[in-house]
Amino acid sequence: MSWITKTFSSSIGRKLIMAVTGLFLCSFLVVHLLINLQMLRHDGGASFNFWAEFMGTNPVIRFMEIVLMLGLLAHIYQGLALAVKNKKARGGQAYVVNHSEQNSQWASRNMALLGTLLLIFLIVHLMNFWIRSRFDAMGGLAEVRVPNLDHPVGDLYSVAAASFKIPWYVALYALSQIALGYHLWHGFRSGFQTLGLNHRKYTPAIYLTGYGFSVIVSALFAVIPLVMFFSEAYQPRPATGNTVEQSLTTEPALR
């Protein structure tokens, strides 16, 4: 083994992979959330579809999407592999009595469980939105016009609005955000600690930022489907049956 593979297969090296990919995923969540919030505008999804189109076509974003997917895979693989390795290190005999709740937080001890819940959500979520829009699978997207663009764009908004009328989907989505919140409650500060970024001047602020980040991000992600479920204002665009050419000439741009 070369020194590089040795470094990244050591316990600290594997943790560095977790921290870098985990914090990168946190930055992605911010972008994802800002775009999701566009759905709550009362514009029939025009802003949301505009940004969805941007994310799907901008070359820099398309490149970062590949980085993101590889990072996510690395995070999942390494997280689960570490959980297995750490379980083995515990040994065969468990404590008969163990009051770990008196020395640590629940979220910190259950990152693999929380991550697995996130993984289940992500599979459903990616199939519904990402696979559909990027690979034109599962019926693909209808096309629609948005202001400021002279070409029609995929109507991802209608997929979301329709999905968020399905009770089990809304429940799964909102509950998964609780898992996300707990995962980030520990994960945010933990990532900094793993990278060695611990300093008595700044660590209290990192902890506070992490707690705020986890609560705000997960709460906002959860609120979006709930609002769209309960409000009549958010409806999928009825299928017109028009071709792209017809849509361009006959349909007015949405305001």
């Binding site: 750490n86 040994g91 404590y95």
Partner: protein, 261 residues
């Protein structure tokens, strides 16, 4: 004094003790009663009473490790009622007093659990994995010869204090015992940062952290996930900051050492 301490009257306790003949046999919890335990006894003295009872009855006494009985050697390692060194923060088992318990209590006593700390017998475990980690790099090189002057190497007080704090680790293993991942990183990082902070440690600075972490992994300890049980249970208060320092030392060593292997 006796009148002022509401707990001063002797206690009767039920003990649930892990008994295991040797490494290769399975163990189990066995119940014992101990009577007339003074609240002023240490936890180990209470176990001494149990063992005298057992000897009198012709039974095998419970094996447990102890040496200094004053909180400095790190051998009195018991997992008491689900906590390393018992319920009180910042103490070793020998410094835990029976006044922390009440008459009629049931106390569960188990050995440290970790794949890297096999049980020798009953409550005694083999912590030689720690010795091998220290041998891999927890030392410094110095020139022999004439006695150097005291204070020959200037070290700022705050650095000296931080190094000293890290140096107070007594290698008890409570960090490993209480960690969900059975990680030894608090222990290893205490030594790594102690020696990284001091100029005397700089000769082996990079090889030290590389070799100690490699040995730690080889012994089968888990990877830290920053849960923090270790620092909460550490009897001498080694802080998590040391783990961050070790991670920095490790990144720096791996990126810049001349070691290609």
């Amino acid at each position: 004094m006796a009148g002022s301490n509401p707990n001063a009257k002797p206690m009767n306790l039920t003990l649930k003790v892990w008994r295991q003949r040797n490494r290769n046999t399975a163990g189990s919890i066995v119940d014992y009663q101990v009577k007339d335990i003074s609240p002023d006894m240490s936890f180990l003295e209470m176990l001494d009473v149990l063992n005298e009872d057992l000897l009198r009855q012709g039974e095998e006494p419970v094996a447990f490790d102890h040496d200094c009985r004053e909180g400095i050697c790190g051998s009195c390692n018991l997992f008491i009622n689900g906590r390393a060194h018992g319920p009180e923060a910042g103490t070793t088992t020998c410094q835990l007093h029976m006044r922390k318990f009440s008459d009629g209590d049931t106390i569960t006593i188990e050995p440290w659990r970790s794949a890297a700390f096999p049980v020798n017998k009953d409550l005694s475990v083999d912590r030689s994995a720690f010795d091998r980690i220290i041998q891999a790099g927890g030392y410094i090189s110095i020139n022999t010869g004439g006695t150097p002057d005291a204070n020959e190497i200037p070290i700022p007080k705050d650095i000296a204090d931080r190094a000293f704090e890290a140096a107070t680790c007594i290698a008890c293993g409570a960090c490993v015992a209480s960690c969900k991942n059975s990680s030894a990183m608090l222990f290893v990082s205490a030594k790594v940062s102690q020696l990284a902070l001091l100029p005397q440690g700089h000769v082996e600075r990079k090889t030290r952290v590389e070799n100690m972490v490699a040995q730690m992994d080889k012994e089968g300890f888990g990877a830290c996930s920053n849960i923090g049980s270790c620092a909460a249970e550490c009897p001498v208060g080694i802080s998590l900051e040391n783990i961050a320092i070790m991670n920095r030392e490790y990144i720096n060593a791996k990126a810049t050492s001349n070691n290609l292997a």
